[in-house]
Symmetry: D2
Subunit: 296 residues, 4 copies
């Protein structure tokens, strides 16, 4: 029975571990706060006292953490993941983090003989629980091939992006930029309609059932239409973080992205007005404010 | 047998008339150039020497023309549509035109006793031929009710937007703005990926099969990914026209639309560089130029 | 004694007429509301019952009106300026209006034998009173030469822009765009400073006495620094009008102007929030709102 | 005779040192490449083998370096400036660097007993040679008071910005953002004029002698008008660096700066097209490219 080290038991990680257990993996979990592990221990996971301990003897490691700082903390240090990973063992980096950090970590893995794979995901906790995640994968080909069984236990489809582990992470940032720009576009259009007497909900019904039928326009669109920004599914402040990371990559790659800049500025206005904990859909409040409909 | 006057036999109109004939309507057609009518006369349509003549005795009139100037020309003047329309007869305005013109024409209809209905559509010529158009409808309720049979003969679904005939036309402009913004967003993301070694086609495959599965991201996305901008499905110059009309409405309604402005400027750059006859997807050439990938 | 017909007695026109009188011209004035003329009649001007009457026998006509609609109204119609202007008489168009209207009016003048000269100005009413206006001049060379005496009576310097009467008007719009963009730039910088504890006034003092010493950065900058937006010197709503006219010209000329679009959107937000009657400097309220410093 | 340690002998530093010598200071210089020091040693400066050696016994230290990395390198390490600075000695940080770095260095100075003063400047090498720099100053009040004699030897005026050493550096970034935005605004306006047949030089003459008479509109404006981008006075790539640093501060302070974002994207396009070594004025090439005038 192959052991998987799983680091990060937030809403996503907690939904993914049971699918690894179901698929027959032995899963050793570690988390900053131990309480989160309880339901998983019930299902058969085991507790590890540190990332390094979780990694010892594992055939794979998985990280699903909130940001660069958390991922760096889990990987580095005397009891960090890198200490425990065996030779050739793939570490599946599934968090949404910066390609820059991933590049640095990939080099640190190489030096110690383990392998970092970029493998961030699209999908919310309910998709994670249903093993319906879409997974972006990049890194050394042999490691990618070996990582398929655990990835297939967690997702519905794997999309591959070549040899550079940072590539899949860049793809994830592109996706979140596309998401933010779709929300901003709907916000502008819906507020224009509203000021001309057309209910936002009518526009949402039209577009999300015809030319934009996917989950972004349906789900975020419904929030935009109904001003339903709390509780957040995906926080506005995290949207800003991801668009900002995309812009940092754009700067490195010398690619002007005016639409990403525009989204970043609208998100920053939301943050400045205290809307960071609201859903990304709260972008529409900026459009409404600027159209003189504020008060919301 | 109810007579329908049909004005405008471009790619869209020519695909719509047969569906009216099939549904049992008598269709009198008129067009600036008569040759376009020949295949339809074969199917049973009759030729009218002018819009007014087409309209005499008709239970409905339909206009499907290229722009404001064409619609104004067909409606007004001594042999214009308004001369021939009987009392209470609905005129279905299905072109993509400015709400401003529609407001003026609606008033002219009212003064003469006929009724203007805003009824622009989403869908390309193939959808028109298959009677699969999505139709946006607004105008006086009683006329809307009466217009359902011909509309249902041409489309798969009718979305209603209240009493103001201009409303449905504004909705259509919103849709074309959403379309342009989706193409611009993909353009920026795909070029960022490209400069980091990720094929545009890989990004397109991912996004159009997961979080953005609709026809816009699939169809235009494939053109963006493959730099397949000719022949145009929807011309860049027409995209600019529509986004500009949306911005004119935004100005009237006092709604800042920074994303629409951004799209308008990118489209204008395309026009200035001689790309107006290319598909809207040629927006990606601006992104590529600005990232130093141009040959231009 | 050469007669000048002067149309438009707002703050600018009322300050300019005395300088023509001082220079020895006979001035016939007409205005929508007659009361404005009283102080000028005292100084020796004569009242005309219509633009046409003012123009009869005049060697020059001057228009200094608020917008396109006012200029069109004064020129056209049975008692309009064009009716009264003699053969070869130059009409100095000094208002801030659209090049499009000027092109049309220039053609109407040509057809009737008179000559339109574009001659808009930079400078506020106090500069007008002191005959210190900067005048932009364009139109047929011979008429420009002949118009120098009245222009020099009203301004400190004349800048020439060729044969096309619309050119000088385009130059004026460019100037007002540069003005709006300078105000927006100061607004962003001053609000950034403010949130980091640097008084706006300190930034204003630095920049307006070093690298940006001119009247725009000094005058508007002081208003931005002190949130002194009322009473308006130059209304925000007029700033929006002029930047919008510049964008319309940009569209015609196929020149993307993203900074002008940005200014237009910020100005439109101000208008939507009820700030249209404030000074252009109220742009800083948008920057403050978006940084979470609004009371809104 | 008070000793000044001077680190950084680029075009600016080399022009400033003679003024310190003239004012009666003993100046110990150090530079990455020693050759740059030769002319100054001739004038009476002495060579130091390291920043630390230069600082030993000095009453002041001055750094005038190219960027964050150079400043960090000079300050830190076993032979860095911090090693040599005596208790209470003010270090005048005159480079254009990030407030973030300055905050960190200020804390390192405090821990060792020396004092960091933010004191970046406006002015080009010729102004430095003439002791005509404008100096922005911030930091602990007592140190600011003591630093006046060397600052007055180098500049024409000192503007003070309070107790936080990072503040003056933020002010400098604001100034460079204002500069970039003025160049972008002129670029858009001049290209619009050009496409309508108005020479760029005519617009430049008008604006730089009337409402925008300062050195920015005169100097950069002349380059924009004449497409005179080489050799660079202030490199486009450095303009991008500074606007990017301003945006990083804006992000930290939660201040959306859409105009700064726009400038950054235009500058980045210039960089991507290989124009990074040209003058900042090369922004106009982006405007020209986007208007279909490329080829330049």
């Amino acid at each position: 029975m192959t052991k998987v080290a799983f680091l990060g038991l937030g809403a996503m990680g907690s939904a993914m571990v049971p699918n690894l257990l179901k698929a027959g993996f032995a899963v050793a979990v570690h988390n900053r706060t131990r309480e989160k592990a309880a339901p998983l221990l019930h299902l058969g996971a085991t507790w590890a006292e540190s990332p390094a301990q979780a990694a010892r003897g594992a055939g794979f490691a998985v990280t699903m953490l909130s940001d660069d700082s958390a991922l760096s903390g889990v990987c580095r240090g005397p009891e960090g993941l890198l200490e425990g990973l065996g030779a050739g063992v793939p570490h599946l980096s599934m968090s949404t983090v910066s390609p820059l950090l991933v590049e640095a970590l990939a080099e640190e893995h190489r030096r110690r003989g383990s392998v970092l794979l970029g493998s961030p995901v699209f999908g919310r906790p309910d998709a994670a629980a249903a093993a319906r995640l879409w997974i972006c994968l990049s890194g050394p080909a042999e490691a990618r091939r070996r990582a398929m069984p655990p990835l297939q236990a967690m997702g519905q489809k794997v999309f591959e992006f070549g040899e550079d582990p940072a590539a899949a992470h860049l793809v994830k940032l592109c996706g979140n930029f596309l998401l933010a720009s779709a929300v901003e576009a709907m916000s502008e259009a819906f507020v224009l309609g509203q000021k001309r007497g057309i209910p936002r909900a009518s526009l949402h019904e039209l577009f999300s059932s015809t030319i934009f039928p996917g989950p972004v326009h349906q789900g975020y669109g419904a929030r935009v239409a109904g001003d339903a920004h709390q509780p957040a599914g995906f926080k506005l402040s995290l949207g800003l973080k991801d668009v900002s990371l995309a812009l940092a990559e754009a700067r490195r790659a010398e690619v002007p992205m005016p639409m990403a800049s525009l989204c970043a500025n609208q998100l920053l206005a939301g943050l400045a007005k205290g809307r960071g904990e609201m859903d990304l859909s709260a972008l529409v409040l900026e459009a409404a404010d600027n159209a003189g409909l504020g008060g919301a």
